[in-house]
């Protein structure tokens, strides 16, 4: 259940999510938090088992902090994504998989979007979606995305994509949360 969307533009990145948390056919929450800030210039949107996703986010925040202190400079968005995927991969290989997918969005030397899955695979993307509403969101993304979008235009498209999914996917609904990270970092 869930719809999450990430879009990369030359000006920065956008992450959007719906706010519904489901327990089977029951709406468990109408104000669920699905976008987590990892640092001032990196955030992750989650889909799947909330507890697993939250655990991975906390784990990666801690690992990231320790690594940064040890080596003395920031991790790239890819390196942060790699920390998530390492945990996911070892989870899968030890028959205790983390049942969550992530869209990691951030800005280091340039804007970046990565998606990770239960197997620990990482794929760099220009736009991506995950969750039960993603096939519907992709309809909007595929027809609206181009590589010269401004951050504001991308924000509108992300909003539209999640809202379209909310109309037709019973697992998604109850409002949209959007964050943007412009070049240079910090949340707009």
């Amino acid at each position: 259940m869930t719809t999450i969307v990430g879009i990369k533009t030359k000006e920065g990145v956008v992450l959007a999510s719906d706010k519904r948390a489901s327990k089977g056919f029951f709406i468990a929450s109408k104000d669920a938090k699905k976008i987590y800030q990892i640092d001032t210039r990196t955030a992750a949107a989650i889909a799947g088992q909330v507890s697993d996703a939250e655990y991975l986010v906390n784990l990666v925040r801690a690992q990231k902090k320790l690594m940064q202190l040890e080596r003395g400079f920031e991790l790239s968005v890819f390196e942060i994504t790699k920390l998530i995927s390492n945990a996911a991969y070892y989870g899968l290989r030890s028959y205790a998989p983390f049942l969550a997918e992530f869209i990691v969005a951030g800005v280091d030397s340039e804007p970046r979007i990565y998606s990770t899955d239960v197997s620990g695979a990482i794929s760099p993307e220009v736009f991506t979606s995950s969750g039960s509403g993603s096939p519907i969101a992709y309809g909007v993304l595929e027809s609206s995305y181009n590589d010269s979008l401004t951050l504001d235009e991308a924000k509108n498209i992300a909003d539209k994509a999640v809202r379209a999914a909310m109309q037709r996917d019973p697992g998604s609904g109850d409002g949209v949360e959007i964050i943007t990270i412009p070049l240079g970092g910090g949340q707009a």
Partner: protein, 216 residues
């Protein structure tokens, strides 16, 4: 069994680590080895004492990963063990992070490895390592000593008459040295240190390619 049988093993009377002093003494008898860096390149060079006839000279420049290399002075077998450790750390880091290890972390990991030896009654590795490499933050040069101490800098020398070689480089070092000037400086520094024409092996790091290259 007089009390003289219980000499302090770790600390000397002045609070210095006796084993470290001895290891450094061994290093200072090794072949003269220098490293120099600017913002765009680094050069490491080690003097190879000509062995007797019919024996091939030992290879003293070591690739660690694509972006980094090492050389050093001291007991060669000790140096080889440290180089193995560097290579292992570099690959382990790459496996978890999918990016090449940064030079600070590499130097620190070697320092931590050596530091373990200073805690126990074992023989320290009698080798000083000079590390050169290029990472996300530029070109770096490090020296790691038998105490586990590591320092970053623009010129280092270890081995026989290292202080003379350092003095020579310090006098003529400029931040805008060209590659050829720096290489000449290295040659002259070693020649001054050992007072004869040196037989040098070289390794280079370049900021543009971010790669470590062994000469020949």
């Amino acid at each position: 069994m007089g009390p003289e049988r219980y000499q302090p093993f770790f600390y000397g009377p002045e609070g210095r680590l006796v084993q470290v002093e001895y290891a450094l003494e061994a290093v200072s008898r090794g072949s003269t080895t220098v490293g120099i860096r600017t913002d765009s390149f680094a050069i490491v060079a080690s003097h190879v004492r000509p062995p007797r006839e019919l024996v091939d000279p030992f290879d003293k420049i070591f690739e660690i990963d694509e972006h980094s290399g090492a050389t050093g002075s001291g007991y060669i077998s000790d140096m080889l063990r440290l180089v193995d450790e560097l290579r292992l750390e570099a690959q382990q880091y790459k496996l978890t992070m999918d990016t090449p290890i940064d030079m600070y972390t590499l130097a620190k990991r070697l320092g931590q490895f050596i530091h373990e030896f200073t805690l126990y009654a074992v023989r320290l590795p009698a080798a000083s390592i000079i590390l050169a490499g290029a990472d996300q933050r530029g070109v770096h040069l490090y020296q790691v000593d038998p105490s586990g101490t590591f320092s970053r800098g623009s010129a280092f020398a270890v081995g026989k008459n290292a202080d003379k070689a350092v003095d020579f480089i310090v006098k003529s070092y400029r931040k805008d040295l060209s590659f050829d000037e720096a290489k000449k400086l290295v040659d002259q520094a070693v020649e001054t240190a050992i007072a004869e024409k040196p037989l040098l092996q070289y390794g280079y790091v370049n900021i543009d390619t971010r790669s470590f290259v062994k000469q020949k």
